[in-house]
């Protein structure tokens, strides 16, 4: 039932899958979860230096490997099949935003630092961009003021790439995380494998990288959605597989619980959810790669995969029974990731509305 990717893409999937399998057994995830940064620095270094994944989607003329959204989707899906705690998504968001800057002289030094992994950046969008983020920022004389509720990997990023719309056209700024006037508040998150921090900006000096048009801002946002959607599809798949495996071995009333027809039918329904979620992710990635207007389908992918993931997480706990509700069993780690992903970058309801808005614009 796998959509046929080409050989190179299949290889890429294998490499990432093997890497995640090696790096993210439950014990490793739990060990990293308990650290301050919540990131597996060793794995992250290897993803950059050895696997080249940080540079994967960055155009070759910008120092990247020049792969497209389809390959990025593959990496995200495989990462999503594990809980490997690395700041890949924030890195993708930041480098995608930076790639929109045409002025090479401005872009180059930053991109080089990000792609090499020597600096970690994340992307900050505020609600004035029309995205479901709480907080607003204003740029005045290249100083930023305002606040943003939750920034992905903000607790650890060296650099914030900030899209500010007010009071002028959307502009991409770079802000050093150590700037004066910037107050960072690491947040206690439900999904401890994916951290967020809140920021308050008071006259924070910012480097103006360039203005963006609305289409560019939307493309950055859509790229984020599609990446997250593919990750969620992978997570849903992982939960389905784990749950099916469990029902095949767990015995109650003298038979495996996977032999009960009511369970079988629910797992069949879940498989349908997951398969449709996967194609939603693939299709959005392919459309993005083809340069099509992807906003409607990016939102579609976000809510279809989020619903499938949450559904899979709910069923996983239910079908594991009591053990599924315990701390020591991994199911809740996935449930937390699913819940976190459901609301990050906009709830499913928000994206259903956006899809209709895009379709009727």
């Amino acid at each position: 039932m796998e959509f046929r990717f080409n050989d190179e893409q299949a290889q890429l999937r294998d490499v990432v899958a093997r890497f995640c399998r090696d790096k993210a057994p439950s014990s490793a995830v739990r060990r990293v979860m308990a650290t301050d940064t919540g990131h597996d620095h060793d794995a992250w270094r290897q993803m950059g230096a050895e696997l080249g994944l940080i540079a994967l989607h960055v155009p070759e003329d910008m120092g990247g490997l020049g792969f497209g959204a389809v390959e990025l989707g593959i990496v995200m899906e495989e990462l999503g099949r594990s809980l490997l705690p690395v700041p890949y998504l924030s890195s993708v968001l930041a480098t995608s935003a930076l790639a929109e800057i045409e002025d090479a002289a401005v872009r180059e030094p930053l991109m080089a630092a990000l792609v090499s992994g020597s600096k970690l950046a994340t992307l900050v969008l505020d609600s004035t961009n029309g995205h479901p983020v709480s907080g607003e920022l204003v740029a005045q004389d290249d100083r930023l003021t305002g606040s943003v509720r939750a920034v992905l990997d903000g607790h650890r990023a060296d650099l914030l790439l900030v899209v500010v719309r007010a009071p002028h056209a959307p502009t991409l700024f770079a802000v050093d995380a150590a700037s004066s006037g910037l107050t960072k508040r690491p947040l206690q998150v439900m999904d401890r494998t994916r951290r967020f921090a809140g920021f308050r900006f008071e006259q924070v000096p910012a480097a103006r990288l360039g203005t963006l048009d609305d289409a560019q801002v939307e493309r950055i946002y859509d790229t984020a959605l599609v990446a997250l959607a593919n990750e969620m599809a992978g997570g849903a798949q992982a939960l389905l597989e784990a749950t099916v495996a469990y029902t095949r071995t767990r015995v109650q009333f003298g038979r495996t619980i996977g032999s009960f027809q009511a369970i079988k039918h629910r797992l069949a329904d879940l498989l349908v959810d997951v398969e449709l979620a996967k194609v939603a992710g693939y299709q959005a990635a392919a459309a993005l790669a083809a340069g099509e207007d992807v906003s409607a389908n990016a939102s579609l992918a976000k809510f279809v995969t989020a619903d499938a993931y949450m559904g899979a997480a709910r069923e996983a706990i239910q079908l594991h029974g009591g053990i599924g509700f315990t701390w020591e069993h991994d199911t809740h780690l996935w449930y937390r990731r699913a819940k976190s992903s459901e609301v990050f970058l906009g709830t499913p309801a928000w994206h259903r509305e956006r899809m209709i808005r895009e379709m009727t614009a």
């Binding site: 039932m1 796998e2 959509f3 046929r4 099916v244 029902t247 095949r248 038979r255 495996t256 996977g258 032999s259 027809q261 369970i263 079988k264 039918h265 797992l267 069949a268 329904d269 498989l271 349908v272 398969e275 449709l276 979620a277 194609v279 939603a280 693939y282 299709q283 389908n297 579609l300 809510f303 279809v304 309801a349 259903r352 509305e353 899809m355 209709i356 379709m359 009727t360």
Partner: protein, 409 residues
Amino acid sequence: MTAPAPAQDALAREVRQWLARNWDPNLSLAEWRERLADAGWGQPTWPTEYYGRGLNAEQALVVQAEFARIGAVGPATAGPRGLAAATLLEHGSDAQKKRYLRGITTGRDAWCQLFSEPGSGSDLAGATTRADWDGARWIVNGQKVWNTSAHHADYGILVARTDWNLPKHQGLSYFLIRMKQPGVEVRPLKQMNGHASFNEVFFTDAVVEADDLVGKPGQGWQVALTTLSHERAGFTSIRGAEKLRHGDQRIYREYAREIEIANEPYTWYPQRAGRIDMLLDRARESGAIEDPVARQEIAGAIALQRCLGWFGARGLAKGPAGSIAKLAASRVARAGNRAHTIVSGIDALFEGPDSPRDGIVGEILLSTPATSIAGGTDEVQKNIIAERILELPREPRFDDGPFKDVPRN
């Protein structure tokens, strides 16, 4: 597009030459198809001895492309005749192939499928229509149901029970039956949406000649599986009103009429599928486009349908995964029903001319429940997925003894 291989070039040239000599849109449809059958170009993959050319599927595409290029009409394909042909090609005797395949491909004979029974729906192999050997012929008694186009049919492919002492799958045989005979009565079966696309067929001492048994007695289920696999492959594609119109000559008029008759039972199929395509326009008409709650329902329905389309278009819906597409289609239909209801509001009270879009909306609301039943219920699809894809244990069997002892309706 890759360039055609040299061998394919030669083939294309050969077809082109034959068409140049033979294609004439002023022929009658029947005359033209007799030419096609003689030359074998209508059914390129069929064996040369049976009105075909013995080509492979890839070569067949080359042939069809040449036909399409000049607008030449193809062989008869509408209705269950294709299922009959595929089954005969795999399991029929030489005599049967000679006797029936020509009438199938020329369109001379219409066919119907006689599998489902009132007492055996999901459990097709539980058929209780009987065929008893009277020493010279098979005598058929019983009832079939959901037989599309049986009232037009000259022949039927029939599964009937010939041995009641064997387990259920082993006591069935597969027959070709003449529909125009005294012992066969066809009655239209009206559906809840008012259409009568199907029939019930009653057999009372109907006769099947000895040489119209396909395969051996007791092999009926294996033969039927061939028919079913071809049927399932066709189910998830939505039937559209096929339009091939290159001119006003006689053959195109006859061909258009043939398609019209063939599609007649299927006019409500788009409604059965939920008519997601109409939702946004309908919402603009009714004003529901301004309602955030209706917009949520519409978005959900459109998303489901797009995902189903992508799933199919990526070639994922083959084998047991066809059941995934079938279940997804049921979801699309249900979502369409819900969304059309909220979009139409009070107008969902009506049917026919008082229902929006000249009755289409009412027909949607009354047709979508068929999607999760026809062609194998959702429940059967879920069993297939659970057992064949997820590899969960099979249901315990209660029907593996001699069929006469198996509980049934």
